[in-house]
């Protein structure tokens, strides 16, 4: 049984058919990446998984259990963490509060404290800024906070939407190192990236999305060498 499985998922925004039958799987312990150009449906796929939009057709199974009819907050409770596109940290909560709200479902203060310490260990920068309002952080710090906040849920799978967006190269490298580190610690990650080259470097497997459909799938290495992919998404040819 796969940890996460999408079967023929169709999602609409009004009249716009955004996902046209997406099927994919994520196994425990993997990094799987979704690549594709803007508007291909990558973000919609993640939003559909975490319940922010409802699929009109198809099934989503998490640990074998259908979740596509559940509201977002119940999907989170099952262990699906989502680092949304554009970070979406709470600008008027402090860094510390942003982390605490990540652990909203955890009632044991001690556990919350432990997780917070782990996040601070991972991102010492956040510890320095813990009393600052989220909105005053730089883009890179906000990304760290968004990842930290999702980790506070101790999720079984982490959905990450364009973590490199708008970041300076050195920070992009840092974030990708973190992604790999988290995976080595045993976290399963579904990564959406525009920076296809980097994404394919860290991922085990990948799917290529175009206009709401999966056009290619396979091990990341193979995809990175596929001439079609190189031409379309790696800025070559």
């Amino acid at each position: 049984m796969s940890l996460l499985e999408l079967k023929n998922v169709h999602t609409y925004y009004g009249h716009i058919h955004a996902l046209k039958g997406i099927s994919l799987t994520v196994e425990e312990g993997e990094i799987v990446t979704l690549i594709g150009s803007n508007g291909a449906g990558k973000t919609t796929t993640l939003r559909t998984i975490s319940g922010l939009v409802k699929p009109r057709q198809g099934e989503i199974l998490f640990q074998g259990r259908p979740i596509h009819r559940l509201p977002a907050h119940e999907i989170v409770a099952l262990g699906v963490g989502h680092v949304p596109e554009g970070r979406r940290i709470f600008p008027r909560l402090t860094v510390e509060e942003n982390l605490e709200i990540g652990a909203y479902l955890e009632n044991d203060r001690k556990v919350v404290q432990e997780r917070k310490e782990q996040v601070y260990q991972l991102f010492p920068r956040l510890y320095e800024r813990r009393q600052q309002k989220g909105g005053t952080l730089s883009g890179g710090e906000q990304q760290m906070l968004a990842i930290g906040r999702a980790l506070m849920q101790n999720p079984r799978i982490l959905l990450m939407d364009e973590p490199s967006m708008g970041l300076a190269p050195v920070l992009v490298d840092f974030i990708f190192e973190i992604i790999q580190k988290l995976n080595q610690e045993g976290r399963t990650i579904l990564l959406v990236e525009q920076n296809a080259r980097l994404a394919l470097q860290v991922a085990h497997r990948g799917y290529v999305l175009a206009t709401g459909e999966i056009t290619l799938a396979g091990p990341a290495k193979e995809l990175a060498e596929n001439p079609e992919v190189q031409k379309a998404y790696l800025g070559e040819g």
Binding site: S37, G39, G139, P169, L234
Partner: protein, 259 residues
């Protein structure tokens, strides 16, 4: 002749510098593309040109006229047409009506004439209708004229948005990710379409786009934004080989990979 001159334009939102000291010039008849990673400030840059935001620093000249801090409707009247990244059609109006709204500034009917539907109003309305229909025919959407814009398929919505901007008879057309969400075939058709309107309508085009194939094929020149700053500018081949661009945008090792 220079259609657009941007001189040291900066825009801040709170602590974030969205656009940082950007200067560039666009010549008449050019297709000029602005590329860069998501969040690099491209759309903010468009919004500065069209008056949605006012720059904190710098000047913007359109056809030699200073339009810094003008309003969006004035920019449109001067001849800057645009499309939006996330398609902003008038969804509950028909395709034809969308085009007629685009012709708003060219339909000269004073209020009282419209109220009383005088011969002048009828004449102008007829003219507007004829022009709108011929524009729809030109872009190949005539058969859809009475459908609500929101009911069009995605690709045609993109096309209608461009057509609506063309109805303004602009001198400069800003296209914000026109190929987003299109498959390669549709993108190819879009490419033909952009080239066609450029040559047949005497337009200058400023383009934001992520699809590198499209950008490399149709651009005369390209500017690369990263972190709100312009890090490179030049012909497609030059930009492609620029190491800073490769690092910031195309991805590390892209040059090596291509070799």
């Amino acid at each position: 002749m220079k259609v657009l001159e941007v001189q040291g334009v900066t825009k801040r939102f709170g602590g974030l510098v969205a656009v940082n000291q950007v200067s560039l010039e666009v010549n008449e008849g050019e297709i000029f593309s602005v590329i860069g990673p998501n969040g690099a400030g491209k759309t903010t840059f468009f919004n500065l040109l069209t008056g949605i935001y006012t720059p904190d620093e710098g000047r913007i000249l359109f056809l030699g006229q200073d339009i810094t801090g003008s309003t969006p409707d004035k920019a449109a009247k001067l001849g800057i047409g645009r499309t939006f990244q996330n398609i902003r059609l008038f969804g509950a109006m028909t395709v034809l009506e969308n085009i007629l709204v685009g012709r708003h500034i060219h339909t000269r009917v004073p209020y009282l004439h419209a109220l009383l539907r005088t011969p002048l109003a009828r004449k102008e309305e007829r003219k507007a209708l004829e022009e709108a229909l011929s524009l729809l025919e030109y872009v190949g959407l005539l058969h859809r004229k009475d459908e609500l814009a929101r009911n069009l398929p995605y690709g045609e919505q993109r096309k209608l948005e461009i057509a609506r901007a063309l109805a303004l008879k602009p001198k400069l057309l800003l296209l914000d990710e026109p190929a987003a969400g299109m498959n390669p075939k549709e993108t190819e058709a879009l490419q033909e379409f952009i080239l066609k309107i450029r040559s047949e309508r005497g337009l200058t085009i400023l383009l934001i786009e992520h699809d590198m194939r499209l950008v490399m094929r149709i651009s005369d020149r390209i500017a690369v934004l990263d972190y709100g700053s312009k890090i490179a500018e030049g012909k497609p081949e030059e930009v492609r080989k620029n190491p800073r661009v490769i690092e910031a945008y195309l991805g590390r090792g892209a040059a090596g990979g291509a070799a």
